[in-house]
Symmetry: C2
Subunit: 421 residues, 2 copies
């Protein structure tokens, strides 16, 4: 078997640990120099392949590649760009083949969520549909935890830990203040279609008497009256009320509680503002003094408080992807299999890309309490292991984390044509 180069790219929203997966891919590929030559990273994801903007990771030092493991964000740039079907845009696939051929690329590692695994699947069909032989392995990543087959998704555990801790800390804050000041605190978290991240807020307390007193899931239709009654009840019983609200919280008819009216490249509605909307609702109806926070990027970028379990799994997925590839597997994605919850044990298996793509795993309904506002013991058992362990980045003398900046040298183009995205 001849030596081929590899293409690795990051796709979709970045996370605190997607670079740990990159680290796993690159370090493992370096150990398989009999089969894999250079690892080229796409500058800004798949766009880098289309534009022939390939970053040569071989010039990065061993130390800098290792430092990816504790560096958040996408070190090579990510993108929100979805390949169309072969029939709709054959030109894109022809371009990919041109670029891959020009740089002797025989391995394709694509690190992303559901939409991205769709792209990975399409690329895996290049061999069959267009006669270009390529080994294509997906690397799972998404804070939304909504990929099928895998027990959890790298990226989620760290957001979950951030949200659980932040909820706990803010709850302690408002508890201190509620006698003479703020009575209601609302934390808005990510999770457009699935309530996984909001559910993680539930780990801040042990039961419904502890904050958060209310969790709003996209899976449970929002009812203004019931919600307000619940807020009032919590304030009267505990002196304060803490709410964790998913950005995807929606009414029975599907209208989002907050709808910013924008759409992204995938046609998804861009959300924001559940927290202030709820705060206003509480103020109008109950008159309680409130505070609200919107974590937004802070939650998915918070490498400073990443889950060690998550970091290890993210690295392991990148490593497994390369091991799968060199062992002759194709068109698959490594997945995490839960062997046991307490103590937590997990192993690695695989799922076919053809089945991973474009499927969304929702929260099981029995993870949500009957009243719709909390998490069940089963949900707790599922979530808890994912936030276990800390994995602090190193800090410099000035008190800031030492996140790595790679050289990111784009290699010289070999093709004469540019490609318009």
């Amino acid at each position: 078997m001849s030596i081929k180069n590899a293409f690795y790219a990051q796709s979709g929203g970045v996370t605190a640990v997607i670079n740990a997966s990159a680290c796993g891919v690159i370090e493992t590929a370096r150990q398989h120099s009999d089969k894999i030559g250079k690892v080229y990273a796409g500058r800004n994801g798949i766009i880098g392949a289309l534009r022939e903007e390939l970053i040569d990771t071989s010039i990065e030092s061993v130390e800098d590649i290792a430092a990816l493991k504790h560096t958040p964000s996408g070190a090579f740039g990510s993108c929100r760009y979805k390949l169309k079907n072969f029939e709709e845009n054959k030109r894109e696939y022809e371009r990919l083949i041109e670029v891959f051929q020009a740089h002797n690329i025989g391995y394709f590692f694509y690190n992303g969520g559901g939409d991205s695994q769709d792209t990975a699947y399409k690329v895996s069909q290049l061999s069959e549909k267009m006669g270009y032989p390529i080994t294509c392995i997906g690397v799972p990543k998404t804070v939304d935890n909504d990929l099928p087959f895998t027990d959890c998704c790298p990226g989620f555990g760290s957001v979950a830990k951030y949200v659980a801790i932040s909820t706990k800390e803010a709850a302690m804050d408002i508890k201190s203040m509620c006698e003479s000041s703020t009575k209601v605190f609302i934390l808005e978290v990510m999770g457009r279609h699935a309530g996984w991240i909001a559910a993680a807020g539930g780990l801040a307390g042990q039961n419904s008497d502890e904050a958060p007193h209310i969790i709003l899931f996209p899976e449970v239709p929002f009812d203004r009256e019931t919600f307000l009654a619940r807020v009032d009840e919590a304030v009267k019983k505990h002196g304060y009320c803490v709410i964790v609200a998913s950005e995807g919280a929606q009414y029975e008819d599907g209208r989002f509680v907050a709808d910013a009216g924008q759409k992204d490249a995938f046609g998804h509605t861009q959300l924001g503002g559940v927290a202030p909307t709820l705060a206003n609702m509480v103020k109008q109806a109950l008159g309680y003094k409130y505070h609200w926070a919107v974590a937004d990027y802070l939650q998915r970028a918070a490498r400073h408080i990443a889950s060690r379990t998550d970091v290890e799994q993210a690295y392991a997925m990148g490593k497994a992807a390369v091991e799968f590839a060199v062992s002759g597997k194709n068109a698959v994605m490594p997945i995490i299999v839960r062997e046991n919850s307490s103590p937590y044990k997990w192993s690695i298996s695989e799922a076919p890309l053809s089945q991973v793509a474009n499927q969304e795993k929702k929260m099981p309904i029995h993870y949500i309490t009957d009243d719709g506002y909390g998490i069940t013991a089963e949900c707790r058992e599922y979530l808890s292991p994912l936030i276990q362990g800390e994995d602090y980045p190193p800090y410099d003398d000035a008190g800031m984390p030492r996140y790595v900046n790679l050289v990111n040298k784009v290699i010289e183009k070999k093709l004469r044509t540019d490609f318009e995205i």
Copy 2:
């Protein structure tokens, strides 16, 4: 000298390290049992004294008191309650004396910001104006960093560290995404009257070419056109723009930017918050895709990423307060004196409560760059030491910080009358 009990209370907005000051007070008082009997903590601050709700800290274990050092929020409850002048409400002062007398209280430690030091000052006058002998020492605390005399305020360093790190992490996130997605990110931080916290965001980068590209201070009048031009310039130059905005950002005429009363695409009033208001402004004028976050309580409660310097200073202020008291000082507040910036060296001195009360220390204007959107080298030199060092709380096996819950036993009342706040 006879043994007297002490009263300690937390006041105003709580912080990640106010309990470290409580720890300093209680541990040090326990070492001076020849002069100080029990330390009673006010349940919900000074309100606890007025209502005769005194928490007996002597029943708390050595371990639990030590754990206060790594526990955020106000362990005994805080309050937003300001004593009126003697002339306006003599009844309150008479009540304090009744309660103090009933419980043999001869020391008063009040842990708070400017308003709270005003209360401490008034209590210190009890001896002179009402003939009740009491030793009264203020303990500085405020995330706003606006107390006079002291070089910095316990509580601020940890918010500063949180904001600097969060800005850096979010900036790395948007940098990864900006090629095909979000171009502008706005982080709203606390600081209604002074830009100290916003300034700390500036530590995320080394110069104006690094994020944050724009900082909005309450001290600099907000100008929509200049701001938008600056955003556009950053996006064109760097591909993205990161903005740290103080909640107190305001127009020339004193109107808060957050109160701008804008409407979204659907004609709904845009709800509170500088960040969403600015985001909307950017969207309308420049059309860039944006994300925004409002840190709110998360920033001041984030003990998980507290500054070690801040924790040490918070503890030292509590300790010094007790040492001042037992050495016969009165009506003063310990302060932090900067001996050197690099390497950072500080010592402890004191300021008279009469002069501390109701003064606000603004950011020096030479800490802000001439264009009004960044911090100067001098500001950097001031801020940088305050975020030095990490001081992680211990974690349990489930991956959550072990913050302490004290027993908080309120002692039996001795007075027959209740007091209406």
